[in-house]
């Protein structure tokens, strides 16, 4: 009797395990660690799991600095994630390396991306008609300023500079020096390694009448007279006007948070960070225009599925990716993280929000640089500015040498 009971019990347990195993699929999701994003995704996973019984999602995060490393080392070994969020500038590298799989073309095709997303997104996720990822949110640049420091300098705290000429005048007046002439308050923070390189690449070059790249971004073309003028305008702010310099007070974000910088060019992703700083009164405005020309740089993080994911896991991964890019999540993303919805229609109701509005306006005319090696191409810009600032080299010659370096990176990728 006892033996039979035991046998029945064992069989039942066995059946339960088999049934559960057949039903529950666990997929792994990776993103880099950014507190507001990680918390939000934890909540999203709970909602997703409730709506999709039988799917479990595990979120794993890494610091930004080592994220790329983990991705590149884990995926070929088959130990990485199923769904992963990557910076759009890394896509060409990972697509070429065969790390990502094509999303089902029946649903993710040109018609879908053109209809759902901003044009710059649709362009930069398209790899010869194949699509490997889709984003939730996008970001642009804007001018942010410290209202308290504006008041101190005698400026109206609610009227930021509108043009580059005004920007220079404001920056000079807002800069403070000690008895030795050392900068102690930066009028305009100059951080090429932060957003500075993008401001120069996609905004200033264009505003000065230069076209920095060919349409497919395979030819560098910022070395003409207008390009040199834009580059010189940027470096003059550091060397002649001395309104700021790279790594002042460690970096631009730290300096702005500490009230050591009056103005900065920064992205919409900083909204949550700056709101968290007590007693910091700050404003956001569209990037200053020049000769009536407006330009902006847009970027985004985008979700893909790695090439090794198959079968039930793949089905679950596609479901999760669709959920992450759904209108519901896009709106939550704006509320919690500050990044703008990647679908234009969803932005409508934020049109009058004073903080969000300037970033939204920028989206209308923003460009997303098509990087092939985001880190390498950024370093070219950071170094060329350092050459002029630290070694007093001739801007025109430096720009030419930098363009050759960046061209070599691009050529090497496409060869």
């Amino acid at each position: 009797m006892k033996a039979r009971k035991g046998l029945i019990f064992t069989v039942l347990i066995f059946l339960a395990v088999v049934a559960a195993g057949a039903q529950t699929v666990t997929i792994t999701y990776w993103q880099y660690f950014y507190e507001s994003k990680v918390k939000l995704v934890d909540e999203l996973i709970k909602k997703f799991e409730a709506a999709n019984p039988g799917i479990k999602v595990e979120q794993v995060t890494f610091p930004y600095e080592s994220f790329n490393q983990k991705v590149a080392a884990s995926i070929p070994a088959g130990e990485g994630p199923d769904v992963i969020t990557l910076f759009y500038g890394w896509l060409p590298m990972y697509v070429k390396g065969g790390y990502l799989q094509e999303l089902p073309p029946a649903e993710f095709n040109k018609a879908y991306f053109d209809k759902t997303y901003y044009p710059f997104v649709a362009e930069s996720v398209d790899f010869g008609g194949k699509y490997y990822s889709a984003p939730t949110a996008v970001r642009t640049l804007a001018l942010i300023w410290n209202k308290k420091l504006f008041k101190e300098a005698g400026y109206d705290p609610n009227t930021p500079p509108r043009t580059l000429e005004e920007l220079v005048a404001y920056a000079k007046k807002l800069s403070k020096f000690d008895a030795q002439g050392n900068l102690v308050q930066s009028g305009l923070l100059m951080q090429p390694s932060g957003q500075g390189h993008s401001w120069l690449r996609e905004v200033l070059f264009r505003q000065f009448g230069n076209l920095p790249y060919s349409a497919d971004y395979r030819k560098v073309s910022y070395t003409d007279a207008n390009g040199v003028a834009a580059f010189k305008w940027y470096t003059d702010l550091i060397t002649k006007d001395k309104v700021g310099y790279p790594n002042f007070a460690t970096d631009d974000v730290t300096a702005f948070k500490a009230g050591k910088g009056a103005m900065n060019i920064d992205g919409s992703f900083r909204i949550a960070t700056l709101n968290a700083v007590k007693d910091l009164e700050w404003g956001v405005a569209e990037l200053p225009s020049y000769k009536g020309i407006k330009s902006n740089y847009a970027s985004y993080w985008t979700h893909g599925i790695v090439s090794g994911t198959k079968g039930k896991k793949l089905e679950a991964s596609i479901k999760f990716l669709k959920y992450l890019t759904s209108p519901e999540v896009q709106e939550l993303w704006l509320e919690r993280v500050g990044e703008l919805p990647a679908t234009p229609a969803l932005s409508e109701k934020y049109k009058n929000d004073p903080v969000v509005q300037p970033f939204l306006k920028g989206l209308a005319y923003a460009k997303a640089s098509l990087f092939v090696d985001e880190a390498g191409q950024r370093t070219v810009f950071v170094d060329m500015i350092d050459e002029v600032v630290l070694k007093k080299a001739d801007p025109a010659a430096v720009l030419k040498a930098a363009a050759a370096k960046e061209q070599a990176i691009i050529d090497n990728f496409w060869k």
């Binding site: 490393q69 590149a72 030795q180 900068l183």
Partner: protein, 295 residues
Amino acid sequence: MTLATKRAITAYTFLALPLVFFICVRLGPMLYMLVMSFSDWGLLRKQTRFIGLGNYVTIFSDPVFLQSLGNTMRYAIFGAPAVIAISLSIALLLDLIPKGKALFRLIYVLPYITPIVAVSWVWRWMYLQPPLGVINELLMAIGLPAQDFLISPDQALQSIMAVNVWAELGYCTTIFLAGLQTIPKEISEAARIDGANGRQLLFKVTLPLLLPITLFLTVMEGIQFLRIFTQVYNMSFQAMGGPLNSTKSAALYIYQKAFTNFEMAQAASASLVLFVIIMTVTAIQLKFFDKKMNY
């Protein structure tokens, strides 16, 4: 089997364990690295082919690699002798004082036992420009001009080297002090009776007797400076070894090749070059001191 053989077998068994470990996690990967350095292995490449000396050609025609080798040599040539000279002086002075030796020794050894990442970051903040950096505040308080330190391509390498010298002092001072205590009192007393003055005592007795320890420390510090990484990684902005690659060491170059560019094979070749350099420098040091140690 005799007891002695049994004992020997037991000893070999225990000693074999670290040997297995060494072969698996050191020698094996090293040989693998040597082989892979002749391939085009990269994490973003689907297939790996053998390309002979291609990687060596690539890295030696990369001006950044040559600059990083130059920087590495500068760290070692100026850093290691500085540590030896300063720590030896400190040890000789500490040997003279009758009281408080333990306290001083503790003070000098503290930087060495502090995690190097913490040391690097604290110094990075101290090196900051006005109005934030402590060192520049001190300079300005005594009427000197503020310095650029880490943001200048001419000062950044020295600034990082100075921190490493400071951190290494504790270790070398401790070893030198131990060495000084092994010098028999009779020898110095005999020299004094023979009429040797303080300077003769130092140069003819103490220093020659410290030579084995000096050799050991020179080799250790030479290696330490040749593979400098953590300090540069943490003290240069965005861990880039800048400004303008002026602080980038060979180790940081290798790291970036492997984990930023994912060019594993090129990183392997560069590692091998660094390995050969370290081995050569160490061999030269050993040879040089070997000749002098004939007492």
